[in-house]
Symmetry: C2
Subunit: 582 residues, 2 copies
């Protein structure tokens, strides 16, 4: 490709509403242009990278035996009604009516349509396993779209769906996809981690997120550097930090703590470690009678150590809370604790509450907690002596750096990540809701065991940039760079020698299958360098009259601090070597 | 590909709501599955053909210097307001609101978004010409979606938009696209015709439709077998069939024609040729005063020969009618003609009407027309003698087979066609509406001269099948067949010799770059043949033990009446020869 034939529009400054570095750089490099909030055009430069991602994804999905199809963007409400998602999904599902007042939605994913295909097409166990995938535009009406392609409303996703005879077979399909995803992210050239993730109501342990490591990531990834343990922080198990409870050593005392409504403030006031305090969090569940009518409220007191944070996903899996909980209202708190928030604790309650202690809290002795009296805390609190044992002891908190790894093989570290893929065992959730069955070997109908597997194609571009950039611009991994090599001739308009050498090198690279671009815009070196460093092309060759007189050209890798002079005759081989294509 | 790994679901019968042959065959061949009216999933078999079409289109667009990008499916009302299309487009533009109650539409085409890109990105004449294209999902909320992928609501279209400095340069861009389209349809292997089409309000002669020839086509294509004249029937010029008007030979007579309200009936009753009668068609225009308020109605009488049909597109271009016309109401007809329809004519009007005669009618003498008296016609009617000359003589009718070609080089023929592509010069219609300008060489801002160029990617599949099928199924042109060659081993499960020969041939074809499929389902020959003939694979090789004993296999082209026996050693070369890959 010649730069003069290409739509190369770089900007000195990103638009003021761009928030994160990948968004700014993609806008500045002319890869995307905003059309509306969370809706972008992918310009020719951006589309080149998208196509490379798509090709890698497609090749590995095909290699894993999945079959590509295309399901429609616009999907009828009838199918979404069958699974109840038409009503259950929030405003992210963009719903509308066609000219005949029939209800439709834009696909955010396609479980309903693919399950409908399966129940029509897959009649016998002999046709299983099957895995259908599509690389197709999706729409999610995010309340607050942001971060460019990282949290857009319209985006490209690869979504795959497997259909199996049994849970065991579904496990094999899951493992095949897991392996395919590893090959995909390896080939993309990204630093990533596959982490165990929450399975929600489905249960089991078959849910993994593929997270691209980046300091700017929205997700916290927990891993053990000494083992292969890795999990999303929502799921990562927090063990007790105290092996067993010590004997009480202090007396219970009601201590004035005026205006100190947080554990941090109380610890500072009393001159004690934050780890001797206990935080009280009050939840509520709305109870229903047998007929499903409201039947009062249960109030829950959750206790985590002062330096720990409540993990709401873990809380949501506990008996009594798993049908849904909310934070208690101030009125409910006053009614049960006789005190406003900030000074709450498990001693001296006005009305009964269910007390759940984090594993670590359950092993604490002589701890500090609110006294249910404004401006007072109890110190020297001990389970059994000062208050009954908790109703339930559970893993309630987020792990923190340095926690023991739950596999016993070291301590945990935490990284930030950007979720770009997710493999998920669905079980029979959709096949039962839509009565999608096949005839098994015994002649009896059976619901499909399903899995779903997503990759955020356009999001991968953003994640790759968040992970790989510097002050000058993007640093693309070679596999998804819009071009692999740029040739910058200095004095294109003036020097026949420069033009000839540039063209010779270009022809040699193209013949070797390299995706090269020749910058024939006749711009000054500074302009060319700034453009291609912003765009992030991994390899650059500069050819000028001065160097040619000595038989030299310059090579610079995008991460190199400076250029290397090379003999004209060696440059093609050098570039091919740098691309592993020699 | 092995058939056992593929989603191969053929149906004996098409669903009862399938109307046309391409729709029935695509459903039966398992290429598409209906999700809602006019909305289909493209199954793996169908997607293979779509990808082949897309690849050819993409290669030729790239070769023509166009640049691929992706514009969003969901487009904001603000852009569509700028051109007025938000209000002007009918219900085909599917409009909806997002969660924040902002207005959006699903793209039916993307003139607004691409013009917005141009006005942001193309600042100087030095950046021109530019041509942007996308291959992307489109949505048109057709009132009555039908014919499968031929008139669906959701479909894939390639749409390209050119931006030029001047009308002359835009003409060159148009010619480049026209040539690219010819290469595309040549490569697709379809019999097609590029025909001149109506340019509507834009004017000029730069609008061509690419029509795939098929008896079942919705469009009538007019062409001259002795020249390169070809036009859509809406546009094709109808010359006068009578060189000059003869002198009157008959007296005007009011003749009773009781109950004979059509020219056919009158001609039959009177025993005269239909070509001696004249048909009266009454239109009306709603006049406006200078302030745009209603100012009465003008009634128009259009006269075409009894054996001719009114061409409304031609009528719509005439002075007085080009701002929009309608057929007159019965009340308006009674008021002006004093008679009900069926017996109308230009003689003896109650109130003045504008009379427009078709070129042929204007040259007729001694003709027959309605007498403005129920159950009566005039015979022996002559211009000048019996009634004033018409207010206007114009080309008002559709051409018919045998008409002289307007280029004077022979007579016209008519074929049916399916429109699969359209190239169109837009002028400054959109750039002026959106104030999209560049700085020209003289430093002054100038509106872009634009063109738009569409190809119905999914529709091409339907058109290819309408053109190429027989009682057994589809007959794909090789370039877009889901597979080029199928190998049918007879007795796959039993014979090692058959398996070995089939595998050897398969490997040889794959190595030669042939898109082959090996039917390893261990089905009976009849089942295999029926499936692959329905699916329409162009070449088939059958390998069985009986033949192998004599060293023979069978080859059959999809259009061949029967199979040819060939030596095992020759078969690969024979197939490669049939594919022009030898």
């Amino acid at each position: 490709m010649r730069a003069s034939q290409f739509h190369l529009f770089t900007l000195k400054e990103a638009p003021s509403d761009a928030e994160v570095v990948s968004q700014k750089l993609m806008l500045r490099a002319g890869m995307i242009r905003k059309v509306a909030a969370g809706i972008y055009s992918y310009m020719p430069m951006g589309l080149r990278s998208i196509r490379k991602v798509e090709t890698i994804v497609r090749e590995e999905m095909d290699r894993a035996g999945a079959m590509e199809l295309i399901m429609p963007m616009v999907q009828p409400a009838e199918l979404w009604d069958e699974t109840g998602r038409w009503d259950k999904m929030g405003d992210e599902l963009l719903r509308f009516k066609d000219r005949h007042e029939r209800d439709f939605a834009l696909q955010p994913t396609s479980e309903e349509v693919v399950t409908d295909i399966a129940r029509q097409e897959l009649k016998s166990y002999r046709q299983l396993p099957k895995n259908f995938y599509q690389i197709q535009t999706k729409f999610r009406d995010e309340r607050r779209p942001r971060f460019g392609v990282m949290r857009g409303r319209e985006f490209t996703m690869k979504d795959a769906y497997s259909f199996d005879r049994s849970e065991e077979a579904a496990g094999r399909s899951y493992d095949i996809m897991f392996a395919a995803y590893k090959r995909i992210f390896d080939r993309l050239g990204l630093e990533y981690r596959a982490v165990a993730a929450d399975t929600g109501a489905i249960g089991g342990d078959r849910s993994h997120e593929f997270q691209v490591i980046a300091d700017t990531g929205e997700d916290a990834i927990v891993y053990c550097p000494d083992s292969d343990y890795a999990a999303n922080i929502e799921l990562a198990e927090a063990v007790s930090l105290i092996a067993r409870r010590a004997e009480p050593a202090k007396a219970l005392e009601k201590t004035p703590t005026p205006g100190k409504a947080t554990c941090e403030d109380v610890a500072e006031l009393l001159g004690v470690p934050l780890a001797t305090t206990v935080k009280s969090l009050v939840l509520a569940t709305d109870d229903l009678d047998d007929k499903g009518n409201p039947a009062g409220v249960t109030v829950w007191l959750l206790l985590v150590r002062g330096d720990h944070a409540l993990n709401e996903v873990k809380a949501g899996k506990l008996p009594g809370l798993k049908s849904g909980f909310r934070f208690a209202t101030e009125a409910e708190i006053l009614e049960h604790f006789g005190c406003k928030p900030g000074y709450l604790g498990p001693i001296g309650l006005k009305k009964p509450v269910k007390v759940i202690a984090d594993r670590t809290v359950a092993h604490m002795a002589d701890f500090i907690c609110g006294a249910n009296d404004a401006d007072f805390h109890f110190t020297g609190v001990n389970w059994g002596r000062d208050l009954p044992e908790p109703d339930l002891v559970a893993d309630l908190r987020n792990v923190i750096e340095g926690d023991p790894s739950p596999d016993g093989k070291g301590v945990l570290a935490i990284q930030r990540g950007i979720e770009v893929g997710h493999v998920f065992y669905l079980g029979t959730k959709y096949s039962k809701a839509m009565n999608a069955t096949f005839l098994d070997e015994d002649g009896k109908p059976k619901h499909f065991e399903m899995g779903c597997y997503g990759i955020g194609v356009t999001r991968i571009l953003g994640a790759a940039i968040e992970q790989n950039h510097d002050a000058r611009g993007i640093i693309w991994p070679r596999a998804i760079a819009p071009f692999e090599v740029v040739i910058c001739p200095v004095g294109w308009g003036k020097s026949q020698a420069v033009r000839d050498e540039a063209q010779t090198l270009y022809d040699a690279l193209i013949a070797a299958g390299v995706d090269a671009v020749l910058d024939d815009r006749d711009e000054r070196p500074g302009v060319m360098f700034a453009d291609w460093e912003l765009i992030g092309v991994p390899h650059r060759v500069t050819i000028g009259d001065r160097g040619l007189k000595e038989g030299l050209v310059e090579y610079q890798g995008r991460r190199d601090a400076e250029a290397t002079k090379l003999a004209v005759g060696d440059i093609a081989a050098h570039v091919l070597g740098a691309l592993d294509k020699a």
